[in-house]
Symmetry: none
Subunit: 220 residues, 2 copies
DNA sequence: CGGAAGGTGACAGCCAGGTGACAGCTGGCA
DNA sequence: TGCCAGCTGTCACCTGGCTGTCACCTTCCG
């Protein structure tokens, strides 16, 4: 699957690209409207992630262009403003989905995957490991059928770890993806949050520490 | 995906049909209420775009009919009048979405797609959770057999939350669907209305807040 | 045994969300 | 037309809990 990220915030674009690459997608990045159009002309993308505030040619215009040319690409709009008006306008322009900044990176990745799956079978994505089940759509988490009262940050961390599917995830990676990308690199909040999450997950332990590489969901 | 457009303005109907065909949908048009009913009886549509001011059988009646027969079709109501009351009534009748004329064509297309994509809890003529029962057709709400005196806005909000079936619904989403889409994005009316609704719903609480995500009907 | 990585509990600031008072609007009615 | 009542939005203020920091402890490993 081929994805174009049209986003002028270089760090953000690269972080998203990294996440998608890890999920096996092919990713290109365009830092301004002009190059986005050029890349769209040259290559057939499955999904286009489109910042509304794009320098050069604004995202709205690119969206209109894609719709007008009956491009088969699905469009996911990003916007800084969170107003209702923006949302309506975004969808009105023909975008397939819409995400206001700031967003949870894992959420973005999930939405891109949902878009990539052709419409039809409604997507009910559920994450889980053993008796632990997470439903991102409903914001619910259960263990052995028992509901877990997770705070938003704890929930986001757990979702990210589950999506990592057993791979150890470093504190830095969590900081970048679950927290604001401008987070203080010396913060200790990750270990605190993981600690609280662990306590709520209960026994037997499913969230393990891999020394020097990070945290991991899985067996022993 | 199969869509029925029940709209007596011939030009408008054809323009919409053309746009939907271009997005790969199968489209039929009914120019009056009678033929709309006939086509609905003959064919299973995913989405019905329903003009309220339909000659023959009015759109409201068709909507009621679809809800009463537990049709799986999703209903998008169109209406010339733009009043809030209209909007609330439309949703109260059991429509899934509502669009006042004049509308932006691309917005209509986007909404139809959104409806089609929506995972399919079938439309019911009665909404409810636990001892709470809502009858959109008769605009009545009861809890544990006791009638609740809900204002129109409160009723519409509750109906929308019940249709979301446990999924958290953001204030933004409520604003867009229950209020006028041109609503002030910084308004605090949602939390006020939800507060009043909560007070009327009584104990035990069924309307919960999910921090950073919205409101949700359900257990704890 | 010493240092670094990781865990834990206490604490405080802040902000999302809740609440009550009030006022404007609207629709019904005489 | 003027009055009244109920619905709905705004505003100011409150509060509870989420989250980050910090100090200190434990564990691991060379």
């Amino acid at each position: 699957m081929r994805v174009l990220i049209a986003e002028d915030d270089d760090r953000l674009a690269r972080a998203v690209a990294a996440g998608l690459l890890r999920r096996g997608m092919t990713v290109d990045v365009a830092l301004d409207g002009g190059s986005a159009l050029a890349q769209l002309a040259a290559t057939a993308y499955d999904v286009v992630v489109l910042d509304r505030d794009l320098p050069g040619v604004p995202g709205d215009d690119i969206c209109r262009h894609l719709v007008a040319t009956r491009s088969p690409s699905r469009i996911l709009m990003l916007t800084a403003a969170r107003s209702v008006r923006d949302r309506v306008e975004g969808l009105g322009l023909g975008a397939d989905d819409y995400l206001p900044k700031p967003f949870d990176f894992t959420e973005l990745v999930a939405r891109i995957q949902a878009l990539a799956r052709r419409p039809g079978a409604p997507v009910r994505d559920e994450l889980g490991y053993a008796d632990l089940v997470l439903d991102p759509g409903r914001r619910t988490a259960t263990r052995a059928g028992r509901k877990l009262a997770l705070n938003p940050k704890e929930f986001a961390v757990l979702a990210y770890l589950l999506r990592a599917d057993g791979r150890p995830v470093s504190a830095e990676e969590l900081l970048e993806h679950v927290w604001d990308s401008a987070a203080d690199p010396f913060t200790t909040t990750v270990k605190t949050t993981v600690g609280r999450l662990r306590a709520k997950l209960g026994d037997p332990p499913v969230l393990h520490t891999v020394r020097d590489s990070g945290y991991r969901i899985g067996a022993e």
